[in-house]
Amino acid sequence: MTQKVAITAQNVVKAFGQGAAAVRALDDVSVDIATGEFFTLLGPSGCGKTTLLRLIAGFEMPTAGKILIDGADVTEMPPNRRPVNTVFQSYALFPHLTVAENIGFGLKMQGRPKAEVAATTTEMLALVKLDAMADRKISQLSGGQQQRVALARALAPRPKVLLLDEPLSALDLKLRKKMQVELKRLQTETGITFVFVTHDQEEALTMSDRIAVMSAGKIQQIGAPREIYTRPVNRFVASFVGETNFLPVTATPQGARLSTGDVIAAEGEGSVLIVRPEQLRLGPAGVGAGLAAKVTGVVYFGTDIHVNLSLADGTALTARVPSPVDGGADFATGQDVAVTFQPGAARLIRE
């Protein structure tokens, strides 16, 4: 990587409990996060993503391994001396302070002059569009406004890295979409490195520069959103990020042979063929090439429809096709169709 590195985790292990009952929340995790990057830790609950965030913040100490911020070893440093700030899932705003006092808290604790604290607070209030709320109590704010205060409070001391622990999970869908755009804008405007924890794959795909997909205390894959989606390295990544059809295959010189006997050209190597539902095309049966399949169910989603299919040997597949305009092509249960793959859509992965 030619860019400057903001955060390095070196062979980090975090075990909770002792002896045989110990659980490894993080199992030998190494990652470099570049300066100015929007980096997302994506995974199901219990995968270790929040633990990694808490280790970077300093709320926990690793059992083994090192954490570096801007090249300096901070493994043993308490949180109040690390140049990182956190946006908590619960926001953790101080209920006895006003909005402005909350935002200025970090600067005040650093002992900055009063004038500077006031000026930065005003600037931050404008940045998150809460100018009119400066003297309100936290309890007088809506959930979305509290979210903005939490962001402003964490950004005010100009941290080298901003850590965000599922900050959008308490918001409703509309507001969440709005905040996704807002967060990306803030990150671009401030140029601060963001480390964002989420279990929502769509959130990760839309906002991130790079994503680390985590499972069972390990990083499964690190890459740009497109790379993660189009070239997942294993079954976990393929199934956690987006929907995928998995087909068992055997490798032959001509390509991957399906259980039905059909042979398909596919990149990669391994014994499982993956193809995304939206990369399947359905045509009339018996015309041209394609796998013979029978429609077993149709689910209408508005923007598109999901067609459940069964190949000749009973293997199940799902195709996602654009919603038919009135009178356009639609599918009915029991119908015979020919399934073709978009060129390059099929990939082989290891189990």
């Binding site: 956190t86 619960s90 953790a92 101080f94 808290f105 604790m109």
Partner: protein, 267 residues
């Protein structure tokens, strides 16, 4: 339509029992208050309205001395008890669970469980030894004794408040460059203040009211208001005692009302 759930107030005789209980609880207090305004010297025969027992009590040097002593002891003891209780509450809630935690709870709350008379005798013996050795005869013994049995009363509301406080607030302060002392000073303490005030008030009321331990520990001439009243009872009872009791009752009601306001859960 909705299924009727069990409600104790629907049981037969509920109203009767409730009224009987309230009468038993409050009739004696009411009688006490009424007779404090009696113009005659009897606490049983009504002879008309008067405030002269209040003025008698006010002008009685012994009552004045005992009142001042009571207030000094209660103030000092509740200050000591509240400080100790605050530290104990922080120590038992703001750290990872540790072995022997239950034992610590028992030690802190020991005065609630050990019979008061046992504590009283124990303190009498211990302080006897100390008095012999040091020659000090002052109010310090009473203050220490009161602080000891007031501590659990101060501890309970403070601990309850701490347990209801989100630990992530202190984590957030730490994340925002506050060192442990700043975190305590700017986040924990302001949020804990209502709990501390409530604990202090409860300790104050408990100290003000104590008879048994005080009676055993006090040296000559160290009567508090309750022990003075007890002494009076041994001789002729006059409504002066009623007047003092009524004044104490008034003070207690005010403090306990404040206590409930402070510990009330916010919606």
């Amino acid at each position: 339509m909705a299924e009727r759930s069990f409600e104790v107030s629907r049981l037969p005789g509920f109203a009767t029992v409730a009224i009987a209980v309230f009468v038993l609880l409050y009739l004696p207090i009411l009688t006490l208050v009424v007779f404090s305004f009696n113009s005659g010297p009897s606490i049983a025969v009504w002879q008309g309205w008067s405030l002269h027992w209040y003025t008698d009590a006010w002008n009685n040097e012994a009552v004045k001395g005992a009142t001042i002593r009571s207030l000094i002891i209660a103030t000092a003891a509740s200050a000591v008890a509240t400080s100790v209780a605050t530290m104990a509450a922080l120590g038992t809630t703001r750290r990872a669970a540790f072995g022997g935690q239950t034992f610590i709870y028992v030690v802190i709350n020991q005065p609630l469980m050990v019979p008061e008379i046992v504590t009283a005798v124990a303190l009498l013996i211990l302080f006897g030894v100390v008095k012999q050795a040091t020659g000090y005869q002052g109010l310090g013994y009473l203050i220490l004794a009161h602080a000891a049995f007031c501590t659990p009363f101060a501890y309970l509301p403070i601990r309850a408040r701490l347990e209801g406080m989100d630990l992530s607030l202190e984590t957030a302060a730490c994340d925002l460059y506050a060192n442990p002392w700043q975190t305590f000073r700017h986040v924990t303490l302001p949020l804990l203040a209502p709990g501390i005030a409530a604990g202090a008030m409860l300790a104050f009321v408990i100290s003000l009211d104590d008879v048994v331990i005080t009676e055993f520990v006090k040296s000559g001439g160290q009567d508090t208001l309750p022990t003075y009243m007890l002494g009076q009872m041994r001789r002729a009872i006059t409504p002066e005692v009623n007047a003092i009791s009524t004044a104490l009752l008034g003070l207690t009601v005010v403090l306990l009302t404040l206590f409930f306001i402070l510990t009330r859960k916010k919606n």
